[in-house]
């Protein structure tokens, strides 16, 4: 049985072999880069965990801050304080951010949208220390330190994140949906409230959760606003509120090695919180995106 010799050799000549080598090398390079990134995260997580895990205990999470020099104690006030600060910040940033995003995506004409969009993006890049000083100068100078001012600072950090995330999800809502609603005789804002926003809810939630994770770790806005506080749980935001990031800073400056250990442990708590919320947010976003893009 005669076999046909292909006119072109399918085996490949030197050029093809070189191409293959280059291809393989590029693949390897990309893989190594990815591994490096993962490695960095891994090193950070591991080193914090190694230093902080030892002190982590249920008591650590529930007791009040130790008095200077005393052993033991816990970070319960810090957890409560951070939660309240972030809670207030979210309560401010979420509605404002969503409204800005809705305005930009649904109502603004291109001429109005461009400058406002620019402002939001600039806000995103605002250094957190600048936010801290601004909040200090506006709200704290001449008054006692208070948690509210810190919360405002955190809100400024969260606002562009929530706005951006909301904008992205609003963009994902197919325009066919809006057209369908308009064709039924619904007004523009009814369409937004009844059709567009509900579809975007998943993404808005995700964006908020990510902003929360970010705000929980922001130190600079709180540094001048709420860094001098008592060592027990504080519920009233009009007073200075204890919070995790500032306390980590304070402890790291302390001569007492026990404070250093506490700092590592608190850092671990904070990091775990950020990791978990980021993962949950990511999963929720992927699910909501799948639901929208049919």
């Amino acid at each position: 049985m005669a076999t046909l010799e292909p006119a072109l050799s399918l085996r490949g000549d030197r050029r093809v072999r070189r191409r293959r080598i280059v291809n393989r090398a590029a693949e390897w390079l990309a893989t190594i880069a990815a591994l490096a990134a993962v490695a960095v995260l891994g090193i950070v997580v591991w080193s914090i965990a190694k230093r902080g895990a030892g002190d982590l205990s249920w008591g650590f999470l529930t007791k009040s801050l130790p008095l200077f020099g005393q052993p033991g104690g816990g970070i319960a006030p810090l957890i409560v304080g951070s939660a309240i600060l972030v809670g207030i910040a979210t309560a401010i940033a979420l509605p404002v951010g969503v409204c800005i995003a809705v305005f930009l995506q649904e109502f603004a004409s291109p001429r109005v949208r461009a400058p406002i969009q620019l402002v939001v993006d600039l806000m995103n890049g605002l250094p957190s220390i600048v936010i801290g000083i601004f909040v200090f100068g506006l709200l704290v100078y001449g008054h006692p330190e208070n948690g509210l001012a810190g919360a405002y600072g955190l809100a400024i950090v969260m606002l562009p994140l929530i706005t951006r995330a909301t904008q992205e999800v609003l963009r994902l809502v197919p325009s066919a949906q809006r057209e369908g609603a308009l064709a039924l005789g619904a007004s523009r804002w009814r369409t937004v409230v009844g059709i567009t926003l509900p579809s975007a809810l998943g993404g808005i939630l995700t964006g908020t959760v990510l902003a929360v994770a970010r705000a929980a770790g922001e130190t600079a806005p709180l540094l001048f606003a709420t860094s001098i506080y008592a060592n027990t749980v504080q519920w009233d935001p009009r007073h200075a509120m204890p919070n995790i990031p500032v306390q980590i800073f304070i402890w790291s400056e302390s001569p007492d090695p026990a404070d250093h250990k506490r700092a590592w442990a608190s850092a671990l708590v904070l990091m775990l919180f950020v990791l978990v919320t980021s993962l949950v947010a990511r999963a929720a976003f992927v699910r909501s995106r799948r639901k929208l893009s049919r």
Binding site: P174, A176, G180, L182
Partner: protein, 288 residues
């Protein structure tokens, strides 16, 4: 008369169906009310003229089809009728679109009110990501028609020939329906607010032949209660479904290309003996 090996089998056919001739003749009223009187309609996007100087009347309880080659302005035309072009930034309209004598583009006319009376169904089915019930009930709720909502939803779904298929799963997501069902849901949604006119922009072009046939059947039923205008690029569909057909074509002159109305007549006349050569060329497939 069989050839070698060729067995002719007889087909069983049911006997002739009796038709009440008198009743059929009575069902075709001669006089027609005018719903839309379109005068000198010229629509522009910026400097591009999409359609130029369109004059025609659309009559009540008829299906009027708009056909023509791609880019001749059929969609633009139909969207002018319910002011859906308003959201396009560079859109400009000259001429008058009289709806029962009232110019839809006149001062003080609210586009939202216009669309309440003149509904639209789009090419690709676009149900809301809500339950089947909520899809139909949303607009009535929003527009304040909250009384007897259940009855309203059922009536709309029945009119859209969808009730029997979904009555046991009204609370399921609308996205779980097939393409043809989704499109019928969009039709039900549109008629739930009891408009006078329903505009359909290529409603079956995204559907398979069986779903298409069900939509066409539906239109025959709907025209009893509504006035229907349908844009279609499928000539045979217009031939099957429409009472009157408008043929648009592109006219090229020194100022550019614009869509113009070439011929507008009873469908059977347009497809057996069109008056304009351009129409003849288009429907016989010699061009376009």
């Amino acid at each position: 008369m069989t050839e070698e090996g060729n067995v002719h089998q007889t087909v069983t056919m049911p006997p002739m169906r009796p038709v009440d001739v008198a009743e059929r003749q009575e069902a075709e009223p001669q006089a027609r009310d005018t719903v839309f009187d379109i005068q000198g309609l010229t629509a522009r996007y910026g400097t591009n003229v999409a359609i130029k100087d369109v004059n025609l009347e659309i009559y009540r309880n008829l299906i009027t089809a708009v056909i023509g080659p791609s880019g001749c302005g059929k969609s633009t035309f139909i969207r002018c009728i319910n002011r859906m072009n308003d959201d396009v930034p560079s859109f400009r309209l000259d001429g008058r679109v009289l709806y029962h004598g009232v110019d839809l583009y006149g001062d003080g006319v609210d586009p939202v009110e216009v669309r309440r009376r003149i509904g639209m169904v789009f090419q690709k089915p676009n149900p809301f990501p809500k339950t089947i019930y909520d899809n139909v009930a949303w607009a009535p709720r929003v527009l304040g028609l909250k009384k007897e909502l259940d009855e309203r939803v059922e009536k709309a779904l029945r009119s859209a020939a969808l009730w029997d298929e979904v009555k046991d799963r009204l609370k399921r997501s609308a996205l779980s329906l097939s393409g043809g069902q989704q499109q019928r849901l969009c039709i039900a949604r549109a008629i739930a607010i009891e408009p006078e006119v329903v505009l359909l922009d290529e409603p079956a072009s995204a559907l398979d032949p069986i779903a298409t046939a069900s939509i066409e059947e539906l239109m025959h039923d709907l025209k009893r209660d509504y006035t229907i205008v349908i844009v279609t690029h499928n000539m045979q569909q217009a031939a099957r479904v429409a009472d009157r057909t408008a043929f648009f074509s592109l006219e090229v002159d020194d100022s550019g290309r614009a869509g113009v109305l070439v011929e507008y007549d009873e469908t059977s006349k347009l497809f057996t003996a069109p008056s304009d050569k351009r129409t003849e060329d288009y429907v016989t497939g010699r061009f376009g």
